[in-house]
Amino acid sequence: MYRYDAIDKDFLADRSAEFRGQVVRRLAGELNEEQFKPLRLRNGLYLQLHAYMLRIAIPYGAVNPTQLRKLAWISRTYDKGYGHFTTRTNLQLHWIKLADTPDILDHLASVDMHALQTSGNCIRNVSADPYAGATAEEIDDPRVWAEAIRQWSSVHPEFSWLPRKFKIAVTASPKDRTAAKTHDIGLHLKRARDGSLGFEVMVGGGLGRMPYIAQTVRQFLPATRLLSYLEAILRVYNRHGRRDNIHKARIKVLVAALGRDEFASQVEAEWEKSGTASDLPDTELARIRGAFAPKTFETLPAVSEVLEGARAKTPAFARFARNNLKPHKIAGYGIVEVSLKAIGATPGDATAEQMEVVADLAERYGQDDIRVTHEQNLVLPHVKLDDVPAVWAALDAAGLATPNMNLVSDIIACPGLDYCALANARAISVAQNIAEKFADPDLAEKVGELKIKISGCINACGHHHVGHIGILGVDKKGEEFYQLTLGGSGAEDAAVGTALGPALPYNRVADAVDTLVETYLRERHDGERFLDTFRRTGVAPFKEAVYADAD
């Protein structure tokens, strides 16, 4: 994992001290709220319904046990003993006091962490494949490039005041676990026939009020030219982005307005003008790559007798292994998905104790490596197959072994109206109601892959547009109502969902999802996922089933 050098550490110490001074001035009345708000947001501190919320950056979702233990300690000491992992792979603490925040930032800095660029119109936390360095599918380790982007984009003077926020994802596998096409820039690492590395550059994706799937502006960008090309894109955006209208200020609107080809040609012209000056020197790339050198793996048989024995003996473990254990690039190892979606729990929440359990397991069995996924779960990317039964037992005891990865109860939900100042309706309790309907694990497995994503407002932090079933909370004549969309996908086959019909009241949403699932089970052909059936049949049978009930 990449470790901060002395310059990084000094910078964080300075920023924390600066914010401490700003808090003192705010409390003394030397700064009013209007003056202070942009300063606190630059440090990831929001004011929400019940308290301040601190959004802590987890670059490309990677944390080590020391960091995770510190997050647990902070949540226990300064919050109510838990944290909420988000779709940007950050951690939000929802009960923070302004007066404590400078101390919290110091504690974060002590483990190379911060809350910078988790708010504001800048380049936000860069996300990457949570299986990076572990999956055989990948062409190269996307963390190397995500870290390079993190360094380049951190307090970048030219790109700290963009027209709007800006999100970048990096993946290196055909199977996209980053929702790359919903990003302002999605980067897909590829290898050319001559063996050289490059990126497919996709620009102008985004959710929110106007959902767009990113379009490819360059099929193959030589990897060494990444930063200058990003710079060219950001320059075109900085120049032409709609600063006059917050709802039209994202790059997706610019790309749509200019058209992909015109946008791409402006980027190419800008890129040609700026040359290679801002590209990463080979020595620096090598230095960063060194931080992600492959772990030391033992030579093990591909099949673990311990694991197979546990499978045969313990059906609950067999189910966990079926759903939460994924193939690793090295024989005898596996990738373990840690579910933060226990039935009835808040999606993405982890208690301080749960964070400590995961930190301990990563240390004992997982090569000190932990990842956060954009689907609000955790991953132990390098576990020996022989150790998986022991890891499962410890996770199970901590409520972290729900065998539901990619199944109906593995729901994305934003904090919604329970916490967020922007929300129109609750998201968490809708997720809880749906998960409880599908608490039977046999039923969940029978249904198969089904991605439900819930947002409490049109800002779409819960990615509802790209849910196989998307659920959007709206305010309809003063009541919580929910608009359902079907057929969205955030994966490599990205698509924006189709509206099902009129919005439903709160107490009908879980039943409607049940009806949608029943319809799918009735209509599906062999081997079809919910999404495949929907794509074949269209919305009609689903709409008919849900709204027939309404009459």
């Binding site: 319904l49 302004l98 109206l417 329970d418 916490y419 929300a423 609750r426 309790s429 003063g478």
Partner: protein, 119 residues
């Protein structure tokens, strides 16, 4: 009826106005009749208290179980705590909390008097 609410600057806690001071319980909030200009006067004064609270505003109330509750669901959540976990102000329990829990007839989700008027 109406009440005056804000978030306390130093810790973000949801607070309500009561005769010259800020209290944490909705049940202790001072009530202003809809036509009582004292509500606007208190709001105007609260806006000058920039080292104490952030963004004070009036909220509309309705009757619930013989007590008062915010009209809007959002404001009831602020007065109670989040609905997913029992770890906000609702922990204290009692009649005022029950009245909030059982209130219905939600209005605009923002619940802010001035915003309702604007809509």
């Amino acid at each position: 009826m109406r009440a005056l609410t804000a978030n306390r600057l130093i810790d973000g806690e949801v607070v309500f106005w009561r005769k010259g001071q800020w209290v944490e319980r909705f049940g202790d909030a001072e009530l202003f009749a809809n036509d009582d200009e004292a509500g606007e006067a208190a709001e105007g004064h609260a806006k000058t208290l920039i080292t104490v609270v952030v963004e004070p505003y009036l909220i509309d109330l309705i009757e619930s179980e013989g007590l008062w509750a915010p009209v809007s669901y959002r404001e009831r959540i602020r007065a109670l705590g989040p609905s997913n976990l029992n770890h906000g102000k609702q922990v204290e329990g009692g009649a005022a909390i029950q009245a909030l829990l059982h209130a219905h007839g939600a209005a605009r989700s923002t619940g802010r008097v001035d915003l309702i008027k604007r809509k």
